[in-house]
Symmetry: C2
Subunit: 769 residues, 2 copies
Amino acid sequence: MNKYLKVDPWCIIEDHLDHNNQRSSESIFSLGNGRMGQRANFEEAYSGDSLPGSYIAGIYYPDKTRVGWWKNGYPEYFAKVLNAPNWTGINVMVDKEMLDLNVWKTLKFSRVLNMKEGTLSRAFTAENKKQKKVEVECIRFLSMNNPDLSVIRYTVKPLNFSGTMDLAPYLNGDIRNEDANYDEVFWDVTVTDSAQGTAYIEAVTKKTGFVAGFAMKYQILVSGKPASFGAKADKTDKYAGNSVSIKLNKGEPVIIIKYVAVVNSLYCAPENIKAEAQTKADMALKTGFKKLYNDHIQVWDTIWQQSDIKIDGDKEAQQGIRFNIFQLNQTYRGDDPGLNIGPKGFTGEKYGGSTYWDTEAFCVPFFLSTAPASVTRNLLVYRYKHLEKAIENARKLGFKDGAALYPMVTMNGEECHNEWEITFEEIHRNGAIAYAIYNYINYTGDKKYLSEHGLEVLIGISRFWSQRVSFSQVRKKYVILGVTGPNEYENNVNNNWFTNTIASWCLKYTNESIEYVKTSSPQRYKEIVNKWSFDEKAETGKWKEIIENMHFPVNEELGIFVQQDGYLEKELKTVNDLLPGERPINQKWSWDRILRSCFIKQADVLQGLFIFENQYELATIRRNFDFYEPRTVHESSLSSCIHSVIASRIRYTEKAYKLYLRTSRLDLDDYNNEVREGLHITSMAGTWMAIVLGFGGLRVKNDKLSFNPLIPRNWTSYSFRVFFRESIVEVLVSKEKVSFSNHSDTAVNLQVYDNDYVLTKHLEVDILK
Amino acid sequence: MNKYLKVDPWCIIEDHLDHNNQRSSESIFSLGNGRMGQRANFEEAYSGDSLPGSYIAGIYYPDKTRVGWWKNGYPEYFAKVLNAPNWTGINVMVDKEMLDLNVWKTLKFSRVLNMKEGTLSRAFTAENKKQKKVEVECIRFLSMNNPDLSVIRYTVKPLNFSGTMDLAPYLNGDIRNEDANYDEVFWDVTVTDSAQGTAYIEAVTKKTGFVAGFAMKYQILVSGKPASFGAKADKTDKYAGNSVSIKLNKGEPVIIIKYVAVVNSLYCAPENIKAEAQTKADMALKTGFKKLYNDHIQVWDTIWQQSDIKIDGDKEAQQGIRFNIFQLNQTYRGDDPGLNIGPKGFTGEKYGGSTYWDTEAFCVPFFLSTAPASVTRNLLVYRYKHLEKAIENARKLGFKDGAALYPMVTMNGEECHNEWEITFEEIHRNGAIAYAIYNYINYTGDKKYLSEHGLEVLIGISRFWSQRVSFSQVRKKYVILGVTGPNEYENNVNNNWFTNTIASWCLKYTNESIEYVKTSSPQRYKEIVNKWSFDEKAETGKWKEIIENMHFPVNEELGIFVQQDGYLEKELKTVNDLLPGERPINQKWSWDRILRSCFIKQADVLQGLFIFENQYELATIRRNFDFYEPRTVHESSLSSCIHSVIASRIRYTEKAYKLYLRTSRLDLDDYNNEVREGLHITSMAGTWMAIVLGFGGLRVKNDKLSFNPLIPRNWTSYSFRVFFRESIVEVLVSKEKVSFSNHSDTAVNLQVYDNDYVLTKHLEVDILK
């Protein structure tokens, strides 16, 4: 835990420079626009400890797998998001001495992430050993309006002297990933060019051959007016830039505005990259800072219109939830089905920026409610496009006949995670991907997605489950052996209740979907049958048999679902039995001890009850919550939010709030002392769920928006907006009332506390206490 | 499988040079003397593919652990036996052209491992591009009589020309381990010295600081007479040697005899190493080849007197078993309790030359029967000396109060294996180490070992088990959760029958041992109680409670012990259901598939029935064999031998023989296509067990040697000798009779087929058919 930031409803504010916090701040103040991300590294030189991080969505490197002993079936590589060439750099020399806040004395310092506008600003005053003081103000943004463009405005003012200021805006391809398995450099810089006022570098990723071109233009203003200057063009084999020497009078500011266009081979033929990048940089220069800035904040304005959550009476919570919504929107814009959401987004190297089941299990609900349907649809199409790879992945593990196992971690559809416990055993991800299809259609009503893409994915997934189960002669039931459930503090268990449940559900939903598509799009259904050599009768027959005979571990006496066979044989302690010095157990206990303990890392049975809530009585959910919550250590950032939603559902309001608090400011207050590695982007969607699905009780049932609101004791009110089909509905929950506003012209059918309403413009319902 | 060697009762013979076999032959023709080992690398230069391997017992390097994702409790390093400086090298230049069998044409070639004498010879004729032919004969041995000394006699003869021969005997410290995790060099060469007739190098291992000094002397004979010559002394910072230029007439042989002494800091103060090594090399030179050779083969003669197995009617089996006995004796001599037996001995890098449970489970029975009791005793004392480290190891995993967990892999008592499934979960090793104490005392009658060392180890181990069990409220039994049994094709299982059985046995045996020591050595018992703060009443009371309430998975219907909870839920196929293309499954199947299949890598329940045979009825053993053997793929070299012994016990003679065949020539015929990596030294003891404990039925019961012999159908007869206390008993089993000879003056009490006899000199018993 490290609380060093100021509380503010719209901004994240650091009001002094502490070098020990530098890496953490670089993460927290990250900017992104869905296509690129940039840690909050300083523009000017900084010789202190820092993790440079500039990332381009979809561009990765297959870093050769590092393991102890190789196990058959391991993928050859772990895909890594790459630290891309540095485009932010502006070296500043003050009378020939490099400005470096690790060397200069910092007299004042502030760093501000303005979430309303999507900008990062800094202002500081620094003094060198000769007592020369300069004042710097800078602001940057990665344009949300034109995601290939980024702009920095950097102002330096000599405070107590007149002298020479050398400004060197540059692009630098001499970069590395800290997490490289074998200390390899991942990029080859192939072009460096510079001329007065401009620079260009182009780099190609090794092995994958992605090309990225960075074009820079800039302008310089002295005392607010365009200055003519004699710029020197510099370049080496990895670096291209300019340097400009300017004589300034005391108190006279120089402003440099740097425009950078980044164009890559995902969107542009490699041979055209240079021209396109340069054209875009030119255009940016011509358009100018002000208009680019206005266009950019306009997009943010729309985002906030759609997705803001307001909390009255709890400033920290207000800041926390906005930070989460902000970062999620910086990470994924939903305009390209080739992209996805890495657990750390573009804010660090860890987890490789790849796609996990986090997307379907945590981010889909967020984007369903806060963005147009097309955004979530693209997340689904992403998996559709990987169907062939998922089949290949399953084939590598010995499955056949079109069975699809989606990867645990991927950039391009291939599995690239190499811990057998996770890669081979956490197969519930396949269920989450199927469930996201259901969830999307249920929420948006876009039923034709099934025939267009969904059914093919469902058939592949169901084929996997039908081969993955085995029949136990002892139980006379189908069993699923050797899995790791969501709770990664167990490995290689049999009959994980959640996995068996979601597997069985997948088979059911596929059968229903087949019926639907067969009826609604018979021609398309025939195409699918032919494409996948689908033997409907035999295959769905087998699936039905499995559905009817699946083993689900339960304990009648306790009235609970059992996490997996044998779980109840453990010493059934609770988290309260742990000494403070034993936590977090993943740092204090050896792995074997964790494995054989009853302690749960992350919601497992409760994850299932969260997803399939409708199928169970509240009393059942409550009994399971009462049993599992006291045994859950929540050492995954994806855990507490699920428990919180359930706690709200069963009206454990205090508990729901406590669980929400664990996720709310995870990164801002650095609960786990690891924010320096990057932000927990995907778990941010969990926090949103804790409020909207938890406190607000949002569900979609029978094509109706349904709410079941409560309000935490120390909040005065909270409000959120959700997309629902053609409408945006605003919900304001106060101590006494829930008010609904319809921001569209279409009436919305609502259910509130199980009563039906039609929301035309406004509606008020008393809080049910 | 690769059968390229000639069959011969006493020799391993390669009669032509195939470069593809070079690494394999380097392994198979390895020499060792318990203190050093040397792969059969050529003396002269060889530019073909080769794994240079020279190893010094007990000298290791802690190679930094390489894992994918770190798990808490992992050791920091994996101990590696080091490839030590090359002491065998003799470069040969023929008219200034380097003799290199990868470049020259080989006209004749033979390589012979003489197992009776413990020597490696080569003879070849080679021709260069100018048609100059040379004939080479060489022989080498690592002295069994003086384990610091090694000798090479190398003869070169120009066959069809007269010319200059340059001979360069040398020592070279510029070596590496192929299996280095981070490509590090493990040795620093600190001294290189050379003068006419002599060379010396000294090297220090990085991190561990072991020092080894290599001193070389040599003599040269032309036409059988000492030749005076002008040697040139050469050295670099890693190399020291001489070069000698000799003019030879056609057909005139030159002989170089190279004497190398290797002295290391395990046995000599570092500052004295150089002097001692040089003195030893001098002495060797003075003693001369012939006497050193005679002394060496004398030791082998004694070894064979004690441990030979003769097989009539099966030449391949004869060669196979002698190869195994030979290699085991080359690996471990039993004169230093600081040394142990690596799974690959001194024949390759794999498995790091460290100590595994192989020693107790497989090698102890071999050495008990084939060597004086002191040899096995030293293997036990090795573990006694590591007791403190075993306690520390357990402490790192969260155990306390003197609980000892011996490491899975170790050089110095510290755990150095880093797969959690193995390191943290294969805790049955702790049982094997306790059982070896029982086995040793039962065999040798050396009951005072208990008070001297054994009891302390047993208490540490029992303390571990009593903390490692947990009480299941569901079963009302003690359970052992989260283990990997001997069958490594299961991970993280609950209540592995073997582990629960050996744990329970340990507690029982410790209690009995306490009673024995308390009665027989009350003073020593008090010492032990004080030393270990042993609370007899409380601790043994707890142990008794565990013994009485341990859960053992059984299936009454099938009448078998169940490998672990849930095993019978698997699809119970047999190995016959596998297609040939699916085997070995560890190469053809992904890991998850293996884990959830019923297939067993290595004897597990049967391992328990092998060890605790006396506790079970034959019918029970048979039922379990009938159930488990068809499900065992024997993909560990340590598996078939155990099944073979049991098959003999239950009189499945044909099956016993078939299982024996799988182990008999594992390395000679390279069954698994991996002999190039080194020999399966510890599994060789298993082959010996299959004959002596299996076919011969040797047991020790109530201080009596007991036999239960059978003879495989296609053998005419077989005989073996065993140490038993003060006697050596020879057993000859033919088709009709079993003959016993007593090679001592002490009468031996025998049991044969459950009848009692007294063996004075000779005894004959009819074979029971």
